[in-house]
């Protein structure tokens, strides 16, 4: 047999080496899928629900991430002004993310907007889209999530090229007019593999660095050098998603306040008002909708105008109006819950710890696998829940128990 046209091994005379030939035909990434039998790893727990594949591996990853975020208390940028840039170029019409990259991005941005205002009630968000090589502002920097989501859903079409330089120049223009105590950020959700810029993008990046704007990128296609440079120079985070759930996870990582560089914002005293809630039955003209409203509502302490919901800026006098729970919402970023320590099974059986059968937090049976006590035994899941929601209450109850437990 002469050499094959497709360049396979010409030495094979018969069909013996077929399997081997196929093995050599496959790329390395194909081989990974050929041997992958992930359905065999599915297990069920006691109540018949499917467990995630390799729970311990996931738990270990989570623990690593928490351990990384532990450590000395770092200053965080609490009052943030963020622009989210969505890439609606023709690369966003690809269907490798379901339903399309654009659809996946829209879902993630919607979830991000809600989560952002939940975690950062004092911050503002704006949306920018890139289409046909031009960047346009979709919504202004404001504090209400519904307006952003509505504008995004009304504008879902993609065409043309993507341009990073136009996007960051536009964002920089808007972010130049915000007060100096705010932290400026740009989060780009980039689907394209290239950028089509009118000038030298490195100049734009230098300008961003000078203006203290922290740019982060979440890529959907592949890692791009210019995005990496942008993020490295401005102190942001660059990540590339490999599936829809991974994309959502990466985007939501930008919701909690990032660590702040000391020079990026000037510390100043911001004047804020704490309005009282009106009694039921009061009739007033509300300043936001310009119509008569019955009951409820809040009164600005400076100009006595009525606003419907908090947090907001008074429409008449411009005073920032918040309620104390909104400030308290950010305290858990500033005072994080201290970590729990892990205790391996061997130490338990050595009798070093007074063995408790039930988790302190939720009274569930402790498994014999490694558990996580802070001087009392608690399930790892309870610990994760406590840290995620910032519940430090159990710690105050727990710290006094150390006197009683036998160590």
């Amino acid at each position: 047999m002469g050499p094959e046209e497709d360049g396979t091994n010409p030495m094979d005379e018969d069909g013996d080496g077929d399997a081997e030939e196929q093995g050599r035909d496959m790329e390395a990434w194909e081989k990974a899928y050929a041997e992958d039998r992930s359905w065999e790893a599915l297990t069920e727990d006691a109540s018949g629900l499917l467990l995630a594949v390799d729970v311990t591996q996931q738990q270990r990853q989570h623990r690593r991430r928490f351990a990384a975020s532990k450590g000395p208390r770092i200053q965080r940028g609490i009052i943030r002004y963020v622009f989210v840039v969505c890439d609606f170029s023709r690369a966003a019409a690809e269907a490798d993310f379901k339903p399309s990259r654009m659809g996946a991005v829209a879902n993630c941005v919607e979830a991000f907007v809600r989560e952002f205002f939940d975690q950062n009630p004092l911050s503002h968000l704006g949306l920018i889209t890139i289409r046909n090589g031009v960047a346009r502002r979709l919504t202004d920097l404001s504090g209400s999530p519904e307006a952003h989501i509505r504008a995004l859903r009304a504008n879902l079409e993609c065409s043309g090229d993507a341009s990073i330089q136009n996007a960051i120049d536009l964002a920089r223009g808007y972010l130049s007019s915000i007060p100096s105590y705010g932290h400026r950020e740009v989060v780009i959700l980039y689907s394209a593999l290239s950028t089509c810029d009118p000038g030298d993008i490195m100049d734009s990046i230098a300008e961003c660095k000078k203006a203290n704007i922290r740019c982060s990128v979440v890529g959907l296609s592949a890692e791009i050098y210019i995005c990496k440079t942008l993020c490295d120079k401005t102190g942001g985070v660059y990540s590339v998603a490999i599936s829809e759930s991974h994309l959502k996870e990466l985007v939501l990582e930008h919701a909690p306040p990032p660590p702040a560089v000391a020079e990026s914002a000037v510390a100043s005293l911001v004047r804020m008002g704490f309005p009282q809630r009106g009694a039921e039955g009061t009739v007033a003209l509300c300043a936001c909708h310009r119509e008569v409203k019955l009951g409820g509502g809040y009164t600005c302490p400076r100009c006595k105008a009525r606003v419907c919901e908090l947090p907001t800026e008074c429409h008449i006098c411009g005073l920032t109006l918040v309620s104390s729970p909104h400030l308290a919402r950010s305290y858990h970023h500033l005072f994080p819950v201290p970590g729990f320590e892990e205790v391996s099974v061997q130490l338990q059986s050595m009798g070093k710890f007074d063995v408790l059968r039930l988790c302190y937090g939720c009274q569930q049976e402790l498994p014999t696998a490694a558990v996580y006590p802070l001087r009392v035994m608690s399930l790892w899941r309870c610990d994760r829940f406590c840290r995620k929601q910032g519940n430090s209450g159990s710690e105050t109850g727990v710290s006094t128990l150390q006197a009683a437990l036998l160590f």
Partner: protein, 306 residues
Amino acid sequence: MDALNATDDISQVVILLEANPYFWGGRSNGAHSTGPANFTFDRFLEHVLLFINSLHLLNQANRIVVIATGATSCAYLYDSNAAELSENARTARVSKKLSVVEKITQKLEDFMSKEAVYDLNQGTEDNRYSLLSGSLSMALCYIQRILRGPSPHPLPRILCLQGTPDAPPQYIAVMNAIFSAQRSLVPIDACIVGNHHSAFLQQATHITGGIYMKPPAPEGLFEYLSMVFATDLYSRKFLQLPRASGVDFRASCFCHKKSIDMGFVCSVCLSIFCKGQRTCTTCNAIFAPSKQPNPAAAAAQKRKVS
């Protein structure tokens, strides 16, 4: 109108019981109290136990958990799920079935003796306050466990029976617990058996959509509990329940602790001050002599850019 799901009127109630011995002891002495001096802890416990039994009567699928809030620690007193869910290997020694009342009183005695031990070791802490943040956290952990279990699960809610006044050091922890209850859609109800209104619980009930009540006659506690707090979440739509007259959302300034309606907030650590000053006392940030951006000028600039 029928319930949308079969489990709409099944509740998982977590009751946080005030068990601070300093509060109940001081009360019966009449030392700090202005209320009736004969509303002692055993009377209070009677009302609560009656209430628990009546919850079981309302719907046999109702599940109840009781957590005691002490001065230095908290503990689970009763869990109606435990008998159903446990493997029964350990309950062999409890061969006779204990009633709810007996279970709770037994656990309460254990809890009180542990509290006495901690107290001796701790010295005199500030025992005027109970550990509300601790018991709220435990309640939320328990509810998370229920929500992770097989669906359909009962609708969870938390009932807080609070006597002691609010503890300022627990503010952040309590607010975090309130926000996580809000995220998990768990209403927090509050029934105040002490003398002072509780600003924390007023905010908690307002944010999570629960009921706040301070009975004017606490010796009739069972009536208030069964009229107001016994109904499940689905049926509350059909009832006229007491509405809080006003929720005080004003913050208090860090320097004088008086409540203010307009103040200055440090942009780094969010501490609240009633008048401007050069540095922040909490985070030592030095403030630039700032002038507030004129809203008219900022609006004009925005118009120019767009």
